[in-house]
Amino acid sequence: MKILVAVKRVIDYNVQIRVKEDGSGIVTENVKMSTNPPDDNAIEEAVKIKEAGKATEVIAITVGEEKSQETVRKALAVGADRGIHVKADGIIEPLAVSKILQKIVEKEKPDLVFMGKQAIDDDCNQTGQMLSALLDWPQATFASKIDVKDGKLEVTREIDEGLETIEVNTPAIVTCDLRLNEPRYASLPNIMKAKKKPIEQINASDLGVDISSKIQQIKVEEPPKRQAGIKVSSVAELVQKLKNEAKVI
């Protein structure tokens, strides 16, 4: 069984982002970048399945500018076997990413495609579902537990009401929640070894799909700032303030 895992390079989750003064976007120059956190869970799960003898190959793929390769290299350092980097510049919308992934899936014929449930930059939460629609595959989104069975997966999904369990036949798409597992760190020897693993580079323009933007970003601005509050000195004062000043209890 072959598992394709899609990873995205985003601004590190610990960075307090800054909006560009001209309202054209977010400052990304000289900002720490990392793999989108739930994509790390997706890689980890694929590698664990391979380690359990239930998969034969884990392929990491990313779509983006030259530097996006770093995320594939990191995936190789934690256990993916080989990488694919589809080069594309600028904002690539989830629909375009899913069309690119569809082309790669048709070529590589994986049994499973994993990815994070949401990227923490655009917060869209779309790509996995879109890819499964384009392929007419089952989708198991927001997965917090995956059991691999013969030709099937049993997946526990995190939903607003609690947990839901579904069974999907392979081939299938799974989008991963942060609670799926604890991603490992890459050891230095594995980082060195990863440098020798192959990463195939493909130009998005060679795939014959339309990846032009269909959404025009008119402006990006900072949200309204909250007024700084006060510190109270005691619980009694807090309750009085809530009762008599804020009038919320």
Binding site: P94, A96, G128, T141, V220, E221, G229, K231, I249
Partner: protein, 317 residues
């Protein structure tokens, strides 16, 4: 052209956020049609027809719609899509799971989680965990939009009498099977719509200590929230998580206890009307968004808080 609102329901009643999505839909266009897909969902269809903003209800019935599997829903919606300029539903786990499956088939770039309708094609949505707001214009002929429920008021739920039409069911998608749903039943207000939310974080130290939160929440008739750290540590179940990848809440009062205030948590609660932070670390980022901060050990502060509440003659419900 009209707007198609995908109704979230449990075959009997509408889910609360459908009312917020209906408001957003009516701001896009006055002609809102509500699509109720389910199994024995006549009661839900009737409830949808009573929303004054809804001009028509389309009811689609089949046994395989019982569990709201997106793979089964999508073909029904796609078949109806040609009559609509917009397809709208809530950006909760129901809508997040379903809408992209429709958008991709329509070759439309979906606009997720909008907080404001600027015009029929232009919307405002938060990005980067709400640390920036993007104004975006869709150039697609058909628009697929999910709405952040807490950013729109719920519409009235009575007084309407829209006609209910039936439409044909689609085929069953046989390679996805529902097995079970574990819903945590509670008499408390729902987290997403509660007037008051009391949330605990890593500072609670263990699940048992959440009883201190429960006691205060009982007194205030509040919902219970949690940071991701508390859920990850197993103190409380996932349906309580507030934040970028959990639920977004906008209560009148949000009380954050033992929560440091990572940006991912703030993303889920910083629009609350009044925020209280109780934390023993005076430098915790949560204090930067709190209207009232109390630097204290929560294990002393929470019992005192309950005691002070007990002294009050009245507490708003």
């Amino acid at each position: 052209m009209a707007v198609l609102l995908i109704v979230e329901h449990n075959n009997k009643e509408l889910k609360a956020f459908t009312l917020n999505a209906a408001t957003a839909a009516s701001q896009i266009d006055g002609e809102v049609h509500a699509l109720v897909i389910g199994n024995n969902c006549t009661d839900a269809a009737k409830a949808a027809s009573e929303l004054p903003v809804v001009k028509k209800v389309i009811q689609v019935e089949a046994a395989h719609y019982e569990n709201f599997i997106a793979e089964n829903f999508a073909p029904v919606i796609l078949k109806l899509a040609e009559n609509y300029s917009h397809i709208v539903c809530s950006a909760n786990t129901f809508g997040k799971n379903l809408m992209p499956r429709i958008a991709a088939k329509l070759d439309t770039s979906q606009i997720s989680d909008i907080i404001k309708v600027v015009s029929k094609d232009t919307f405002i949505r938060p990005i980067y965990a709400g640390n920036a707001f993007a104004t975006v214009k869709s150039n697609d002929a058909k628009k697929c939009v999910t709405i952040r429920p807490t950013s729109f008021d719920p519409c009235d739920n009575s007084g309407g009498s829209a006609p209910i039409e039936n439409a044909d069911a689609g085929d069953e998608f046989t390679t996805t099977k529902f097995i079970k749903r574990e819903e945590i039943k509670s008499d408390r207000p729902e987290l997403g719509t509660a007037r008051i939310v009391v949330s605990g974080g890593r500072g609670m130290q263990n699940g048992d200590n959440f009883k201190l939160i429960t006691a205060v929440a009982d007194k205030l008739n509040a919902a219970i929230g949690a940071s991701r750290a508390a859920v990850d540590a197993g103190y409380i179940s996932n349906d309580h998580q507030v934040g970028q990848t959990g639920k977004v809440v906008v209560p009148d009062l949000y009380i954050a206890v033992g929560i440091s205030g990572a940006i991912q948590h703030l993303a889920g609660m910083k629009e609350s009307k009044v925020i209280v932070a109780i934390n023993k670390d005076g430098e915790a980022p949560i204090f930067s968004v709190a209207d009232y901060g109390l630097e204290a050990d929560l294990f002393e502060a929470l019992p005192q808080f309950l005691e002070e509440l007990n002294k009050l003659n009245t507490i708003q419900k």
